[in-house]
């Protein structure tokens, strides 16, 4: 009887610990393919970097406090992009990929409907 109780208590502890672990930042790493955009120009004015002068507008907006995002191919879901811990030159890293089919790899965070990727890598996508 005591043996059974101790087993149940052990399982419960393991479950609690794993839930706590998940909620304290054990985020999933994802790779998302699509197009790098600037959020303000895309949402407010429907301007993509591939639009005429779109790249210049996007970079200008980023300098004014705008944000980079990934427009996922196929789903059109928007993922906000933020810097991974090791990248100290985030804007310079992301800017060359504006308007180019790309992928981003990083940990994904979601809250209140916002999807956020902490970018660990960005590269050319062949999709």
């Amino acid at each position: 009887m005591t043996k059974r109780y101790s087993r149940i208590i052990g399982i419960c502890c393991a479950l609690i610990l794993s839930i706590v672990g998940m909620s304290s930042g054990q985020k999933k790493t994802v790779t998302v393919h699509g197009e790098i955009i600037e959020l303000t120009s895309y949402v407010k004015e429907a301007i993509k970097p591939t639009s005429p002068a779109g790249k210049e507008i996007a970079i200008d907006n980023v300098k004014k406090g705008g944000a980079f995002a990934m427009l996922e191919k196929g789903t059109n879901k928007i993922y906000l992009l933020t810097t991974g811990s090791q990248d100290t030159a985030f804007i310079q890293t992301i800017s060359p990929y504006l308007g180019i089919k790309s992928f981003v790899k990083g940990k994904i965070y979601t809250r209140s409907g916002i999807r956020l990727i902490a970018v660990e890598d960005i590269g050319k996508s062949l999709k």
């Binding site: 060359p96 180019i100 992928f103 660990e120 890598d121 590269g123 050319k124 062949l126």
Partner: protein, 321 residues
């Protein structure tokens, strides 16, 4: 008949000869202020005269300063660039204290002879120009980005929509092209990045992925350098191009590294594997998407290893790959 007067003859001779003598002595005095060339000392030549291909139209030169630089009679350096036929292509001057120069307006693939001399003041009584140091080199184009993007080649364990193959110079884009190893451009791929394990990859000749694909050979000579502006006295000898695979692991390194390659069609080049500064490794990213970030110096004219005449090199037989 008038008597021959010896005294007047001597007097006349002296009247003519003395001014001629003094005038000629005056001329000699002028020559003495310059001094005969043979008695002048030659300035010391530069040491370690080296070169690198800086761009499509330029060659970078570097040297260790002449030990004559402390002489007031030394004015600087003169670099003469000679065409293969011996005619002068251009001349460039460098000041005392300079130890490098980039010579522009050259033509890709042409093997130029570069001569450098330490120059003496033309009015110097004691010194004359040094002997020339020479070397041969060619310009070669730099391929540092793929369009605007850094050149990243991912390991083969990455998804197929992430590029693992690299075409050094794609004539369609006049630049490097990263592609899938199973995509449409496989016949053009020169090298690919193969997964070895979760902490190691290899940069392989394309034919190791599938028989019949292009063969790239790497030199056994590897250099540590921050960038491709890495002057050398001569490129590696052609017999050193014996490798078809280079290994990259998670070991930290002190610098980026230059690897020399010879492509399928005899085009020579250099790959700079950039060091990832936060981790100090040549391997970037995390498994299964590890990658190499590279820059390339590429000679589009075949069988030109930059500094030696074509005839000095071994040419493969037609049926040899």
């Amino acid at each position: 008949m008038k008597k021959f007067n010896v005294r007047s003859l001597i007097t006349n001779l002296l009247v003519i000869a003395l001014p001629v003598y003094f005038l000629s002595m005056e001329g000699c005095k002028k020559d003495e202020t310059i001094g005969p060339v043979g008695t002048k000392t030659k300035l010391k030549s530069v040491l370690n005269f080296k070169a690198y291909s800086a761009s499509l139209t330029s060659v970078g030169l570097a040297w260790a300063a002449s030990t004559s630089e402390n002489l007031i009679d030394m004015t600087g350096y003169q670099i003469t660039v000679k065409n293969p036929d011996g005619s002068t292509a251009t001349t460039v001057s460098a000041a005392k204290g300079d130890t490098s120069e980039i010579v522009g307006s050259l033509t890709e693939g042409v093997i130029y002879t570069f001569e450098i001399i330490s120059t003496a003041d033309p009015n110097s009584q004691n010194y004359t120009n040094s002997q020339a140091r020479t070397l041969k080199w060619s310009p070669a184009r730099r391929l540092e980005t793929e369009g605007t993007l850094p050149i990243k080649v991912y390991e083969t364990s990455s998804p197929t929509n992430i590029p693992s193959g690299l075409i050094f110079f794609d004539t369609a884009t006049s630049g490097p092209n990263t592609v899938s190893v199973i995509g449409a451009d496989t016949a053009l791929i020169d090298v690919y990045v193969k997964t070895e394990d979760s902490n190691a990859v290899s940069l392989n000749s394309s034919h190791l992925f599938r028989a019949g694909r292009r063969i790239t050979r790497f030199s056994t000579v590897i250099r540590e350098a921050a960038n491709l502006n890495n002057p050398q006295i001569a490129p590696p000898d052609t017999f050193t191009y014996t490798l078809t695979s280079l290994q990259f692991d998670s070991v930290t390194v002190g610098s980026s590294r230059i690897y020399y390659f010879k492509g399928q069609d005899g085009n020579y080049g250099r790959i700079l594997a950039l060091r990832n500064t936060p981790t100090n490794r040549l391997l970037w990213g995390t498994s299964p998407d590890q990658y190499l970030t590279v820059q390339i110096s590429y000679q589009t004219v075949a069988y030109n290893p930059y500094s030696k005449r074509v005839s000095e090199y071994y040419r493969p037989k037609e049926n040899e790959q």
